[in-house]
Subunit: 910 residues, 2 copies
């Protein structure tokens, strides 16, 4: 039987820090801190197993009794009674899943208060104001998260009462005033819930517990899990813990902090606190909190202890800690500790610093950096020259570094809308909340007017790797009018705004971006010595290269991209799309000439014109890669992509015809008629050919090797160009290693047909050029049939490269261009765990990849197998490629560092 | 080591009749006849193994010596010397593969003749005319098939000489005349071949042998193999046999025959012969041969023996024999026997007759009928009333029964062209040859002016199951002018012609067709007693049903088709495509209303209008099937299929806009402007919605269950209609067994989503109607991912039905609509064995089907698995479905008998 409850208190806990699956992150942290003797208020954790039983409607009947027994232990440890009017025990109820998840119910404080125990609490503490402050907070919090009453209802009521009393802040309210607030809150709660506010503490506790369970499946939590691919089956734990009070006077405080700066990675004790406050005040951003360093002045003993404890925790966990604490009348209590989320910049620096400090090994350092972080630090930053021309209108807290510029939006839905239309947006909010998560995902950066370094916007910004400037008090946001005002400047939706998450600066306008430090170093525009980031970046990658088992190549079509790819560590080109060369302005007319050719002679003439162009393309690419393998794919796209659109021609012809017709009837001029007729004839001729090439399903049509089979002359020209280029290099004493890749093969005979052309032309060319070069011939595996019959295909192929974009399209029967019509419904209905075009679908597409690799290697032991779809740069897909034993992944040049790290992590995870 | 040569002669053969793989059909027949003591000229067979070695360029160096040793045995048996000028041995060289193949080199007779042996032959036989007749035939034949010189060159020369000599027929030529012919032929051969006609008999033999091997891979043979799916790896054998001479005088003859009529199956000794002729004269159609029955009058002893021998052969082989013989001076020699090719009509009658004669068992009878034959006899025949209005212009030999009407074509390429454009054609030729095979395949029927019942056109017609009228001497065909003339009637290409292959009648015009006898009986328009065909047809199917292991269902959307399906033996409906009901004229506007709906309310209103229509459709179908399972697929096609075409709307709008624009500039009337503007606005509104629905790859787009997921109300309406119909029937005391099938599932979650709707609505409806009906919920397996993850899918599905059309498209990445652009090149280059849309591609699509069936049944033991793609009616695919253990196949109603027989054959083949 799974265990349902885990006690902690009195220096011992039934759980341990490693039990995140069962206790959630918060519960595990509390257990661990208890076990190592830190001051933690006693309590118990309801395990995630109970959450699962709750959802299956199978919670044991005896559970409530068991829970009350655990509660009794808390009563004993604290020396107070739950619901005891004379000496009431109050508890907090907090959710805590394996992964920290904004969007779930977070915390209810002061549970156990009712009309009677509040009197007892006042008497016991001798602080009536404190007791009623706790009670009004509890009623509001419980009503909001358990009873589902809008928080703003209580906030408006409080504002109204304060206005009536001419009180400016909450602290201006007296005990008597708070009596009135409590009375008002209870009336509001009863009116909304249609029943009195629950007075039975046990009932309160059960309701709160169930609310935590329910919050696991609220839409925000689901959306968050979708984005971060967290399994819905994990469930959440519930932590019930004796209250300690940061709001019990001026010697009390509550705060949060980090052992190092989670934005930059600097080794500095970093955080925020408020005196005489409860936790919610700090994170909610209602009062702007003070810097943790200042606590040393106000409550030096507690501060010193906190510093000691958290340093110890960092060493204990060997990672940066994100902690919560409360000081009750000078006495420090730790409420939570966990490994801190951090930006890419911070992750890289912390990992390298900790290796230097000998706290972790390089291999451990590799696991501390998210592969996406490697891309994050390549993100553009503001161009330093250009930015000086833009006006800085405000400076907020630099919560998450990076540069972002875009249209102002005030509404998260609008951000999603604009992102879908390809627009960049900056989400501007008084403060963000879990309800905004979809809009934050869609925006380039966030600006909030309230909240601190640990506010929602700050945390999410760091986690998503997006720039965030928070607590920018001079900005007034009018959510109704959809404007933001700073002094006399008012900006409205769609105006341009730029934010610098590293400096906190807010600028009006669309500040141009420039390369990141790393890229500046790579391009030689900055010296490596000047960039600590770049040095750390290279260290991580150097360690990664030692650890990883699979190769990393880049997809590049032109020498410029190939240069960047090599500098970022690519060990070859995994995919050169030759058609990209065909679209160049000076070539398209020749390509069209080739397509429109009516005879073989005319087609060959056009191909002859293309030959030297392709040769010089290939020569540049092969030269750049200097002997590393360069996989060149023969022509792939349907030919009509190179011609004008059919429906446009039809419309143009219809217009011309109508003009001619009407022109006659109202007496048009003769020369214009002749001109129109000539245009018409030309367009009609073009349309005829376009019609011939028109396809109902171009994705499944005349493309890939099917082109090379119907027009062998195209393959011949391309192969000739490749080998002339390689031979020229060889004659110049250089190395070149072309790998010719035949696309869209479904049947081994297709490959054999094209391979015969490759071998023949290659031999002819090398003979003519009197030099030999090494080369390979292989195929894309992108048609399901090729995967299913991979054994046969491997008989002809020296290498496979999974074209996972097409393989995903055909395996799912989804056209990527059209899936937008139904994928949103799929996401909403939770029919797909993730977007299969982002991460390889392991059960379906992945099963085919595994099968093809195994079958192929059975036939050809040394078969080289790689991947060149966009999945090649996706860490989860790289992990899968490692698992099934691919030789390499290939991705866009800027994803190469991501893939290198992901490959290392996959190798280390084993 | 494989054996290369097999001797036959002197009452014993080294081979046997069962060795067709090694000896070819002809060689096996000769060996068998020799072994059972029939008079067969001695000789030897070069095995098919040698052909394979020839193609691999690995023919053993010792082979020629070995062959000469075998030749020496023939010399000894015959008592003549090969190349001996005094007593020359002449041989025939004939190809013979496992399956008889028009298109391969057939025969060279009289090999061994040269300028010296011809003199010896003349002396030995005392018949100089005969000797030179043999020599001129040999030179022409050898030159044509071995040296590749056009036959017509020799024919023209002969005509010229005959004209010069005023000879009407060949027999008018004297020995001296034939000397001149031989001289002329030799000059011609030398001029074309650029070297003297080979005089060395051994060299002649080797050249002829190699020519036979080469003919295995000539384009006609390849085309034939492609059509009949004969493996290219079989190779051909070569038969070298001592000549006997049907042209050695008036007591000599040569002929071919059948033990029963291969067109109708009648038990009659049937065939043709020519006296004083060699074999080529009979089949080539140069002289019109006489009926075999007449031989009894001319050469009664030989005739009697022939009749006895062939009757014995029929009993020996227990099948109708197709034989060749030669009579040399009253002495009968058997040259070939093989099981006869026959029409569907004949196959069915012969099979049933032989069972009645107790010659074969019913199970054997099943193997004697090609499943396609079952469809052939359902082919329409001429409407007897209508045909009387058409003029019969000629009557030829009724070589292959059936009715065909279409455009006259004289050129096989033209027939292919017109067939591709969907036109019916009748191929009219003086005589057909293997060069015409592609055009014959493309035509509905053939008419020839020369040739007999065993001419090429007749044989091919029977084999293809196409009507053929041959030897229609009154028809003069002008191949140059592309006309045919009968008396004063001249018809040209594209004129309509109708032919009745059962009566030999040729009619001008497009005679309307009516149902076959079988269908007339089924429809009650004819009594079963009146139709022997129908009785036999039913016998075969009755036997088949006993033998087969898998079920046969039909695809039917409307009650009329379901009625026919049941009468033809369907055991249920395997696929009802509900969208076919949507396209009905009265419904399309409502369907469009549903699609164009902007709100859920509007959409639901339209769906409510469709509900009663669908309900009555389903009720009819379920009622017809009376408790047999009816698999109903929910809506499948993309919605834009129900709307006007996007590009047409774009053109209409462009025209309207241009008219408005120009109208203003040349002063159009106001009311017309208003009208145009109103039209424009409506079209633009429609276009907007059409644009929203437009897809780049509709095949991979928003269709199938994706529709039901985005618009659950559509699924709900359809399920409600199904269950209201079923419940109504149940309340009327009738049976109904609906099986709801969800299309295009790729992920089990899609099925689960739709299944939940089905279950909910089904329960609601049954509760409301206060009656329960049995039902199942399952899915199409047509997306590769569904096949790959079939285990998971089976968790939700009670049945699978392979949608092999889509599964083939997606597995190959071929759009069927677009494949026409490259598939011809694939066929030409022999990249595909067959069309994967006709027969299941076993290696690729088939592997997925096998995998899905196995994985599915692992999860759900009683999973019912069927197929409802068009492959369900293809015999080879039915065989495969049997092999992988499907529960049933489903096909169009008229293919049900084909599938029943194919299923039986698959079961018996095991």
């Amino acid at each position: 039987m799974k265990r349902y409850l885990y006690y902690f208190g009195g220096g011992k806990a039934e759980g341990r820090g490693t039990m995140k699956d069962i206790l959630g992150g918060k519960g595990a942290g509390i257990a661990e801190m208890t076990n190592i003797g830190l001051p933690v208020p006693p309590g118990f954790t309801i395990s995630t197993e109970v959450c699962r039983l709750y959802y299956e409607k199978r919670m044991p009947k005896t559970f409530d009794d068991l829970m009350m027994k655990y509660l009794a232990r808390v009563e004993k440890d604290v020396g107070a009674g739950f619901g005891d009017p004379a000496n009431p025990l109050l508890v907090s109820v907090r959710s805590g899943s394996k992964f920290s998840m904004p969007g779930m119910m977070d915390t209810i404080l002061n549970l156990g208060l009712n009309d009677k125990t509040v009197v007892g609490l006042a008497k016991k503490t001798g602080n009536e104001r404190f007791a009623y402050d706790c009670y009004r907070r509890f009623i509001a919090m419980f009503s909001s998260v358990v009873l589902g009453i809008e928080k703003s209802v209580f906030e408006s009521a409080l504002s109204a009462i304060k206005a009536g009393l001419r009180a400016k802040t909450d602290t201006d309210l007296s005990a008597g005033d708070l009596h009135a607030v409590v009375a008002a809150y209870k009336v509001i709660a009863e009116a909304h819930a249609k029943r009195p506010f629950p007075q039975d503490p046990v009932k309160q506790l059960k309701m709160a517990r169930d609310a935590v369970f329910k919050s696991w499946n609220n839409p925000r939590a689901i959306e968050y899990r979708r984005i971060y691919r967290i399994s819905a089956s994990l469930g959440t734990a519930v932590n019930v813990q004796a209250m300690v009070f940061g709001n019990s006077g001026d010697r009390s405080a509550t705060g949060v902090g980090f052992t190092r700066n989670p934005g930059t990675g600097e080794k500095q004790f970093f955080g925020e606190y408020l005196t005489n406050a409860q936790g919610e005040d700090v994170v909610a951003g209602i009062r702007t909190p003070r810097r943790l360093l200042d606590l040393g002045g106000e409550l030096p003993a507690a501060y010193k202890l906190l510093h000691e404890i958290t340093s110890r925790l960092e060493k204990h966990y060997r990672d940066v800690q994100d902690f919560e604490f409360t000081i009750e009348n000078d006495r420090l209590f730790m409420l939570q500790t966990r490994n801190a989320k951090r930006t890419g910049l911070a992750a890289i620096k912390i990992a390298c610093d900790m290796v230097a400090e000998k706290l972790i090994t390089p291999r451990e350092a590799l696991m501390r950096v998210d592969p996406e972080h490697m891309q994050q630090v390549l993100h553009p930053i503001f161009d330093s020259k250009a930015r000086s021309k833009f006006k800085v209108i405000a400076v907020g807290l630099s919560a998450s570094p990076g540069a972002a510029a875009g249209h102002i939006v005030f509404d998260p839905d609008r951000a999603v809308e604009l992102a879908a239309a390809g627009e960049r947006t900056i989400l501007v909010r008084p403060e963000t909340s879990p309800d905004d998560i979809h809009g934050m995902y869609a925006s380039k950066g966030f600006l909030t007017s309230t909240g601190g370094m640990t506010s929602h916007a700050a945390v999410v910004g760091r986690q998503m790797g997006k720039p965030a400037v928070v607590g920018c008090g001079v900005v007034r946001v009018d959510e109704t009018a959809h404007t933001m005002t700073v002094g006399d400047i008012t900006l409205k939706e769609m105006d341009y705004l730029s934010i610098d998450g590293a400096t906190g600066e807010v600028m009006v306008g669309d500040v141009p971006l420039t390369d990141s430090e790393v890229l500046q170093v790579i391009r030689g525009e900055m010296k490596p010595a000047e960039s600590e980031l770049c040095r750390n970046f290279e260290s991580i990658l150097k360690w990664a290269d030692k650890a990883r088992k699979i190769g990393v190549r880049a997809n590049a079509d032109i020498p410029r991209d190939a240069v960047m790819a090599r500098k970022l560590g690519a060990e070859g080109i995994g995919l050169c799309r030759t058609e990209h060369m065909f679209f160049a302005e000076d070539r398209l007319p020749i390509v069209q000439e080739m397509i429109l050719a009516r005879t073989d002679e005319a087609r060959n003439a056009a191909l002859q014109k293309l030959l030297p162009m392709q040769r010089s393309d290939f020569k540049g690419l092969l030269d750049t890669m200097n002997g590393l393998p360069v996989t060149i794919r023969t022509l792939d796209p349907p030919l009509h992509e190179f011609l004008p659109k059919r429906e446009e021609l039809m419309v143009e012809i219809a217009i011309l015809k109508t003009r001619l017709e009407l022109g006659r009837s109202c007496g048009g001029a003769d020369d214009s008629t002749a001109r129109l007729n000539a245009q018409l004839a030309a367009k009609e001729q073009l349309l005829r050919r376009v019609e011939e090439l028109h396809e109902f399903n171009p994705m499944l049509g005349h493309r890939g090797c099917r082109l090379g089979i119907t027009f062998p002359a195209i393959t011949e020209m391309q192969v000739r160009a490749i080998f002339e280029a390689a031979c020229e290099l060889a004659r110049e004493g250089k190395s070149a290693l072309p790998e010719i890749m035949i696309p869209l093969v479904g049947h081994v005979t297709e490959l054999a047909h094209q391979k015969a052309i490759v071998l023949r032309v290659a031999e002819e060319t090398m003979k003519r050029m009197k030099v030999r070069v090494k080369y390979k011939v292989g195929t894309m595996i992108e048609v399901p049939r090729a995967a299913v019959t991979a054994g046969a295909v491997a008989g002809e192929a020296e290498f496979f490269s999974f074209g996972t974009n097409d393989l995903t399209q055909m395996t799912f029967g989804f056209s990527r261009d059209d899936a937008g019509k139904f994928l949103p419904a799929y996401v909403k209905e939770r029919l797909l765990e993730g977007d299969p075009f982002v991460s390889v679908d392991r059960e379906g597409v992945g099963a085919l990849m595994r099968m093809a690799t195994q079958q192929g290697r059975k036939v050809r032991k040394d078969l080289k197998v790689g991947i060149c779809g966009e999945h090649g740069g996706d860490p989860r897909s790289v992990e899968f490629c490692h698992e099934i034993g691919l030789n390499y992944v290939s991705c866009s040049p800027f994803r190469v560092p991501v893939a290198r790290l992901a490959a290392a992590q996959a190798a280390l995870a084993k």
